[in-house]
């Protein structure tokens, strides 16, 4: 049912939580199944993501997806995130069953939104 990457990530969602003063916030909802992910993070002056945390409400694969995404962001430069190849994204969740494909969609959307994060620090 779940591959080992997914299992590892929903069993130990180490990146869950909130960020006290986030530089960015990505929100994603799935109108069909009602899943929801919020990712927040902190960007350093040299455009590296130094903190990234998520909140998720949804199925196990959704939680795993959010955790994997946050893990990937952490300590990576915004430009690297923006430049990530589709193949790389596809690999991140491991092999999925058809009923889990929607999580890959979510992951792609997360990366797209991450790519849109303004390079200028937003103080909010």
């Amino acid at each position: 049912m779940y591959n080992s990457i997914i299992i590892e990530n929903f069993s130990n969602p180490c990146h869950s939580g909130k960020v006290t003063s986030p530089d960015f916030s990505i929100e994603l909802g799935n109108p069909v199944c009602g899943d929801k992910i919020i990712v927040q993070g902190v960007i350093s002056d040299d455009r590296v993501i130094t903190e990234s945390r998520f909140q998720a409400w949804g199925c196990a694969t959704t939680i795993a997806t959010a955790n994997i995404f946050c893990g990937y962001l952490l300590n990576r430069c915004l430009d690297a995130i923006r430049g990530i190849k589709t193949e790389k994204i596809n690999e991140l969740l491991g092999e999925l069953e058809p009923s889990q494909y929607h999580c890959l969609e979510m992951l792609r959307e997360l990366f797209q939104k991450a790519g849109e994060i303004s390079s200028d620090k937003q103080y909010n």
Binding site: S16, G17, G34, A56, W57, C59
Partner: protein
Amino acid sequence: MTYFNGYFDYNSTTPMSDGVIKELEKAFTLFANPSSSSKQGRECKNIINLARKYTADLIGAEPEEIIFTSGGSESNNFAVKNRLLKSIQQPGTIIVSTIEHSSILSIVDYFKKEFGFSVKRISPSRKGFIETNTILKALTPDTRLITIMMANNELGNIQPIYEIAEIAAANNIFFHVDGVQAVGKIPVDVRLLKVDSLSISAHKFYGPKGVGALYLRNSKNVHPLIHGGGQEKGIRGGTENLMGIIGMGQAALEAKESLSKWQAHFTQLRSAFCKQLFEKIPDAELNGPDDGKDCLLNTLNLYIPRIRAEALSALLEHKHHCIISLGAACSNNKVLNLSHVLKAIGLSEEKIKGSFRISFGQYTRMDDVRKLVEAIYQSYQVLMSVSG
């Protein structure tokens, strides 16, 4: 017997008991065709008839009233098709509850679609009960069949089958009962219960999968589901599933002997579970009957707010090695997985997604229950912290 610690899905299927396994081992070298006239063939036939007696005894039937089948689904299909094919020239009304097993719902739909029967679907109460007055109200002069399950697999409700049987008998209507979840968990006695047919499945009470029985009060003029070589009084063809039937017989024997012990055991497990769980998660809710009244005591259908049962179940399985169920196992083959039973009792989609079933069995120990509650609580906390 440790290979099923952490298993809380006995309503889906059960492991075979030691006694059943022992009988199957003994049966490996039995191989004569039970229809053969040789000494060995006769022996096999006698063994089958002993299993038939044990199966009959479990539900208070006569051995002649028991037809062995390949399981609960076949028994349900056989009973329904037999009755409806008899009035195929004058299709009438079928009364069925909305919370039947898919083997009943789909065969009823089939007769509606293909042969023009009309179907009256009885909705249960908010707590899953089929009320007798709803049956009374649904009666029409052309009602050909009433089919109601004895106990619901997802909620555990025990339906007022005795009362419905009286109504059916008084109106001369064929009454089929899906007894698959009830038999082996509560006493069933067809001598008192005026049903025309009743389905049983061995794998729900520690027998093998792929074998079951149909209790049929009157086996005259039957339309067989499987026509064939004269086995089972000529109304169910096919060389007998020797090992399966032997296993079923042994399982029935053990179930009859142990029933009250199991019931007492479930009472204890249930109250311990509820006490511990509601202490830790006070806003959890029972979807089924409140205090376990008129309910399979081994079955708990629960809703926990603000989490997805799917995620809970995944954590339970992969972090704590506990197996629970998100509704009938069968539904998982399908894409959309919202339990028709939980929909039928009026739960919102949100609530259904937060609902899950726990079902105990004879091998569940008090300690397993404690561990399960702890595992649910820990997983719940993880999910709550993840959702912020």
